[in-house]
């Protein structure tokens, strides 16, 4: 089996709201897959369908080859889930909560297995610097998140569903989290990571899916996606460059103190560099688009649509 998660044309409505509107998502076994999209675009709904908490209206969803709704319990032996907004039982301590969640998963398995889990648990508590004796009601958001992370990461699950798992962690803890995810993939586990921390996604993810308004807008490796967008180039030449703006695929040309900056589409890169080199390149800095830029392009559209709606609302 090459795909841990395979979603096609998924639709989920809540009353008249179409939360998911034909979403596609493929997560290959063993990869870390970034799941990106603006707030309210349907990431959490997708994950809750994968967990069998919500029932899809139409489309096909396959998780580890099973149906998340009808095979929920069997599938859940092989997955771990960390929500972004962690609620815990206020009068249980962090340590008790972790043990409870781990034991529920293992179903009171063999003693040897539990011993391994305990070692892993204690190691994670140590690394994430959690005080397991405190009652959950006294934990901060970050500490509640640590509890969920430790319970999830100390399991032997094949698939980790992480829904903005680090939104409350400090940078130090976030880097510990990243190490843990890399260790998990080294063990051959699959990770679906929904996150707004783009540096984290760039560092961890093999492939990325960007969704908007319940639909997939782009999916692929970061390299592939970079290919689809523009590279920023800043160049200084012996002679002033002419005719640059006329080249198809070159955008936003700006000259500043003998240096020219412009963006160029991936397809026009070769021709543009040839053109520029004829003016005698003294220095050239090329910047591939960051994920943030990729993202902002899609978010930007979203904002345009949203502000358009606001205008409509205001005028009506």
């Amino acid at each position: 089996m090459s795909s841990a998660i395979q979603i096609e044309q998924l639709v989920k409505t809540f009353g008249s709201t179409r939360a998911l509107d034909g979403l596609d998502l493929e997560v290959r076994t063993g990869e870390v897959h970034g799941f990106l999209g603006p707030n309210g675009s349907g990431k959490t709904v997708t994950i809750r369908i994968l967990l069998g908490l919500l029932r899809a209206d139409s489309g096909t969803v396959s998780l580890l080859g099973g149906d998340p709704w009808s095979d929920a319990v069997e599938l859940h032996r092989h997955i771990a889930y960390v929500p972004g907004d962690v609620n815990l039982w206020p009068n249980l301590s962090g340590g008790e909560t972790i043990d409870l969640l781990t034991r529920l998963r293992e179903g009171g398995g063999s003693v040897g297995r539990q011993a391994v889990d305990l070692a892993k648990r204690d190691e994670l508590i140590e690394r994430l610097a959690l005080d397991p004796t405190k009652k959950s009601r006294t934990y901060s958001k970050g500490n509640r998140q640590k509890v969920a992370l430790i319970a999830g990461l100390s399991s032997s699950a094949d698939v980790l569903l992480l829904d903005e798992p680090t939104s409350g962690l400090d940078p130090l803890m976030e880097s510990v989290f990243q190490e843990c995810v890399l260790e998990a993939t080294a063990e051959g586990r699959t990770v679906l990571l929904s996150s707004h921390i783009l540096a984290e996604v760039e560092k961890l993810c093999d492939r990325v899916t960007i969704i908007r308004q319940g639909r997939t807008v782009q999916s692929g490796t970061l390299d592939e996606m970079r290919h689809l967008t523009r590279t920023s180039i800043s160049v200084a030449t012996d002679r002033p460059i002419t005719g640059l703006a006329a080249i198809d695929g070159v955008h936003d040309v700006a000259a500043d103190d003998g240096e020219v900056r412009f963006d160029v589409d991936a397809g026009a890169l070769d021709g543009t560099i040839r053109h520029v080199s004829s003016f005698g390149i003294r220095s050239l800095v090329s910047q591939p688009p960051t994920l943030e830029e990729l993202f902002l392009r899609h978010y930007g559209d979203e904002l345009d649509v949203a502000s358009g709606r606001l205008d409509e609302a205001a005028s009506s």
């Binding site: 809750r48 967990l51 069998g52 908490l53 919500l54 029932r55 929920a72 319990v73 069997e74 859940h76 032996r77 997955i79 771990a80 889930y81 929500p83 907004d85 609620n87 815990l88 039982w89 206020p90 009068n91 249980l92 301590s93 340590g95 008790e96 909560t97 972790i98 043990d99 409870l100 969640l101 034991r103 529920l104 998963r105 179903g107 009171g108 397991p132 004796t133 405190k134 009652k135 009601r137 006294t138 969920a148 319970a151 569903l161």
Partner: protein, 553 residues
Amino acid sequence: MTGLAVDAAVTPAAGENSRFAPSSDSSFTGTRRLLWLVLRRDRFRIAMWMLGLVGLMVVSASSIVALYTTNEDLEGYARTVRGNSALIIQAGPGYGLDDPTLGAVVMNETALWMFIAAAVMSVFMVVRHTRTEEEAERAELVRAAPVGRHAALASAMIGTLVVNTAIGAGNAVALLTFGLPTAGSLAFGASLVGVGMVFAGVAAVTAQVASGSRTALAAGGLVIGVAFVLRAIGDVGNGLLSWASPLGWAQSIRAYADERWWVLALPVVTTVVLVVAARALQDHRDYGSGLVAQRSGRPEATAQLSTALGLAVRLQRGSLVGWAAGLGALAFFYGLVADQAEQILEDNPDMADFFAQLGVASVTDAFLSTAMLIMTLFATGFTVSSVLRLRSEELSGRVDPLLAGPIDRRQWASSHLAIALAGTVALAFVCGAAMGAGTALVLGEADRVGELIGAGLVMVPAMWLLAGATLLVYGLLPRWSLAAWALVAWAFVAAMFGSLLDLPQWLLNLSPFQHVPALPAAPMSWLPIVLLAAIAAALIAAGLAALDRRDMA
């Protein structure tokens, strides 16, 4: 800082340098806006309480007015009630029954329960808008705004005052429309507001002291229970202890029986003292925690905490122990006065005929069966709230990590349901055993213990039926889960006021408790018990099936 106001007025430039505008801000700033929030958020609950408490008075008063038309009728009622401890416990001292008027009868039949209802409503309302808000972390958004530290408490208290006043006024108007005297009607309305506000003040204090909102609620409930028992002992005895109970004060105003208006000073002064104390206590606690600190827990879970059922036990055991202790004490107390029931016959030959016609062997048995019905109705409060744990676990998102593990919804729902069903049996047993112990002690009849344990346990299928109905509502229409309380409320009305209100039989039959043989007064019959249990099982099966098919919140 105070000089700023003057400076700013004289030289505007000085004001620009300082970000602090001179103002009259205090720790109560924002109270008015928060008050609107309180009333807006609770508008549905407030409407329900008003409808319930005014409506109950309207139907009670109308049926009493229709029932007791002559002086002989009133005198007959008074003869039965007067000086009878068993009845005094659940009705009050019966002011004005020496020379009975319609008003005095209405008060004796309804007042105490109205007072308790107002107290319960007030405790819930104050805790909901203080500690519960802090725990939900909504309050920090409010406190981050220019809102004073005491504004939440002040708005909760004022909001509760508004609602109590509306209920008190509604009751007074209802009584007036039945032609009852003005003074008595106003006195009852005022005492209703008074008792509500005293317990609002109690809740304001427990909300500062308790380590969490649930504990604050439980402490408020405990104070209501203690107030009930104190006034019951006082009313039966020389009346002294009744003065230690806010419920006793509310009765002591003597509506329709030569009103004592000065008694109203007691709730007013007490409420003010409690609110001032709550305000002072709040200054000594941290936001989000009570004066009683949260203890730290164990670093590792015990072996019991390994399953969904283990978690449900852990989450609900505290509440079950609390219910058992409270109900056990009250049931024991009911048992202790069982010997007083026989007095009814000595005082009232008519009643002897009445009981003879009903085929009831002994009045003591009749009293005990009624007492057991009341106790198990209370216990049903645990049953329903225990099932409704499912809803709060779902809404808070705490169920997500469980259902994301290898546990299906049935297992999870069954875990809390198991506590609800088993806890119900335990509470029915405790009620029976405690009442039996009290009765055995005072009557010297040891076999009463076993008899009353049976009388308690026979109620269990009816209580289970309400558990099943609650589960079905939760599974089918989760947003309407709280409607399950309407079933409990109806069972209460049918049991306490059913005969008084002369309601049609089919309406009374909607309460499962109507079908349970009233042991020990009536003979045992198995058929209704088996049927009730079967219906309960069907409701539970339907509820679980419905839960399986719907989306989780």
